[in-house]
């Protein structure tokens, strides 16, 4: 009996809500829906941009440096022992699309040394990580040439050439900081002197690279040249980046490599595991920031709905009194206000979803936001988006119910007589 009564009241609540929405001014309804839409976008987009900043960094890290699997030296080793065998295993994996085995060694690069006359002044020098690569394999793995901002990439014959990361050149990183050494007056075509473990060689700058990734701070050189300079005759490399075929699982490939015994002499990581710690920390921090901003958005949305429903209910206090007076149940009246709130929120969310997935995500994907350390994209996973939509609806439901309850509880006669 009580259940039947409840259903009757809910049906009547729906009847009242729909008629009230239908009878309300289009401008007012549009404004409320617009506010709800902005609130929803605020919940999703602010977090999405914050997470997207780091997401694009991690994507860049994977696509332009680490590959989906990254093999590096064990903590107490200076290079990957038994590298040729590991490379052979990698080559023969059925999931391997491409790979790049790299030598990495610290050194210096000196520019304008031929013009230097005053030896009391500091040399035009920068410290950098020299990365020896097979240009064909590197190109296949990271499309490294796409990051060139000047000149061209190395060919297997470029034994006297290097490609310099833009962050080593003052022209591209015009900042002053204690201890930061940057090359001045060095560009494509310049002759520089590199010094690795005391071995010096004159090189020609063939290209400048800038991809908001790891290569920006490095000097790229032919693997054969670097191997000679560092005296690594055993062909043991320092890192191997592996790109997998589409659909291949990085965790499965990692497991396969470990099963093959690669982990005995090298550290095998997925791209996510290989991320620098600071990136992971920033990722977590931005996620938390996004949630905090989102929570504030949720509170603002709740207050907005509360105010809208409260004003609506207060201005309709007399009619609420009349409804009660003629015997309409409080549940029906309250439910009508809750439904109106949900209507506004649902409309806002639907329009917000259309804007989000129909415009914002594809647009920002096509035109990433240019941040110094990454190309910001908008991350709006369906799960998180719909979770936030659900949270907004729940907040709306509560924010709609409370003011309706406050007004409905008031004395019936006072409401009718407006006193």
């Amino acid at each position: 009996m009580r259940f039947k009564h409840l259903i009757t009241s809910l049906k009547l609540g729906f009847f009242l809500a729909w008629r009230q929405v239908r009878g309300s001014s289009f401008g007012t309804t549009a404004l409320i829906v617009f506010v709800m839409m902005l609130t929803f976008l605020n919940l999703v987009v602010v977090r999405g941009v914050l997470v997207g900043l780091i997401q694009s960094s991690t994507d860049l890290f994977r696509e332009k440096y680490s590959g989906e699997i990254f093999i590096s030296n064990l903590p107490k080793k200076s290079y990957i022992e038994n590298s040729p065998s590991i490379i052979e295993i990698v080559k023969n994996l059925p999931w391997t699309e491409s790979y790049s085995a790299r030598y990495v060694e610290g050194g210096t690069i000196e520019g304008t040394y031929k013009e230097r006359v005053d030896y009391t002044e500091d040399a035009n020098i920068a410290n950098g990580q020299f990365t020896g690569v097979d240009p064909i394999l590197e190109e296949k793995t990271t499309h490294i040439s796409s990051m060139l901002i000047a000149g061209s990439f190395l060919t297997p014959e470029d034994t006297d050439s290097i490609v310099v990361g833009a962050n080593l050149l003052k022209k591209y990183l015009p900042i002053e900081a204690p201890g930061l050494l940057l090359l001045e007056n060095v560009d494509v075509g310049s002759t520089v002197r590199i010094n690795i473990n005391g071995n010096m060689k004159e090189m020609f700058v063939k290209g400048i690279i800038k991809g908001k990734g790891a290569f920006d701070d490095r000097v790229v050189i032919l693997d054969s040249v670097l191997r000679t300079l560092i005296g690594r005759s055993d062909y043991n490399v320092d890192e191997i980046a592996i790109q997998l075929k589409p659909g291949a699982s990085d965790t499965l490939v990692k497991q396969a490599l470990i099963s093959s015994g690669v982990d005995k002499t090298a550290r095998v990581q997925t791209s996510d595991e290989a991320l620098p710690k600071f990136l992971k920390d920033i990722q977590n921090t931005f996620g938390m920031l996004g949630n905090a901003v989102g929570s504030i958005g949720l509170v603002v949305a709740s207050i907005t709905i509360f105010i809208v429903v409260y004003i609506n209910a207060i201005t309709r206090r007399k009619f609420i009194g009349i409804l009660k007076g003629i015997g309409i149940d409080s549940i029906a009246i309250e439910f009508s206000y809750i439904l109106q709130s949900i209507f506004y929120a649902t409309m806002g969310v639907l329009i917000g979803l259309a804007i989000l997935y129909g415009f914002l995500v594809p647009y920002i994907d096509a035109h990433p936001i240019n941040f110094p350390f990454s190309d910001g994209i908008l991350v709006a996973e369906y799960y998180n988006t719909f979770l936030r939509a659900g949270l907004l609806l729940i907040a709306t439901l509560i924010a709609g119910y409370i003011p309706a309850r406050i007004v409905v509880k008031q004395n019936t006669l006072d409401a009718i007589l407006g006193r």
């Binding site: 009230q20 009878g23 009619f319 009660k324 007076g325 003629i326 409080s330 006669l413 009718i416």
Partner: protein
């Protein structure tokens, strides 16, 4: 005679400037079923307050009200709402229609709350509007109706769910003479069909049309006259 309303020692007071202002004082009243009764008196005499107590829109401070055999003085708020829905109908001075609803939708509300299926409720509300001559205005909103028409919609709403008693609080106060006559005719027609009606009015002319005239002054009944010459 079978009384549908029985009131004993009804007292109602309001707080005013720190003291109690008594609007109804130990009032006794009985209303037989099917009677058309008018409550009259000067402004402030307590006639509307009495109507609100009888119509369960307000709580008396003291006394006992029995309607259709139920002591309603002490029942819980939800029970009062349910009682109003099933037993009572109201016609307010300012029509009290919901502005965004059509005439039919205003009338249908109590029927839907009673749990009637939409089609049945719709048919019943149209029938009610037809009874008071508004069958051609069912889709009009209050703003598209004249004052008299709005009041008649209010009457249709009051009678749609077949209440035992209709309470009317100065139903003609906002209407011109001609329109007031139409509204009164509607009440008289309902009364002819056996409807109990309690109407507050300060118009002697309209009070004379009812079965019984109760005159209030300072919260007390000073005159209670059966109107043998009432036009029926």
């Amino acid at each position: 005679m079978n009384n549908i309303i029985s009131v004993k020692n009804l007292t109602k007071s309001y707080k005013s400037g720190g003291s109690d202002l008594f609007v109804l004082k130990n009032l006794d009243l009985s209303v037989p079923k099917g009677q058309f009764i008018s409550i009259t008196g000067r402004s402030g005499s307590g006639k509307s307050t009495l109507l609100y107590q009888l119509g369960l829109l307000d709580h008396p401070n003291d006394g006992e009200i029995t309607i259709d055999g139920t002591d309603v003085s002490t029942i819980h708020q939800d029970a009062r709402t349910k009682f109003r829905l099933n037993k009572l109908g109201y016609v307010f001075q300012d029509y009290a229609l919901i502005p965004e609803l059509t005439a039919m939708e205003n009338v249908i509300l109590p029927l839907l709350q009673q749990g009637l299926p939409m089609e049945e409720a719709r048919a019943k509300s149209i029938s009610s509007l037809d009874k008071i001559g508004l069958s051609d205005k069912i889709d009009n909103t209050p703003s598209q109706l004249s004052g008299g028409e709005q009041q008649r919609v209010s009457i249709a709403r009051a009678i749609a769910h077949d209440p035992e008693i209709i309470f009317a609080d100065e139903p003609t106060a906002n209407l011109d003479t001609e329109t007031s006559g139409t509204v009164l005719e509607a009440f008289l027609s309902l009364h002819k069909q056996g409807q109990t009606i309690i109407m507050v009015t300060h118009e002697k002319e309209y009070a004379d049309l009812t079965d019984r005239v109760v005159l209030l002054s300072d919260g007390k009944i000073i005159s209670d006259i059966l109107n043998s010459s009432a036009k029926k």
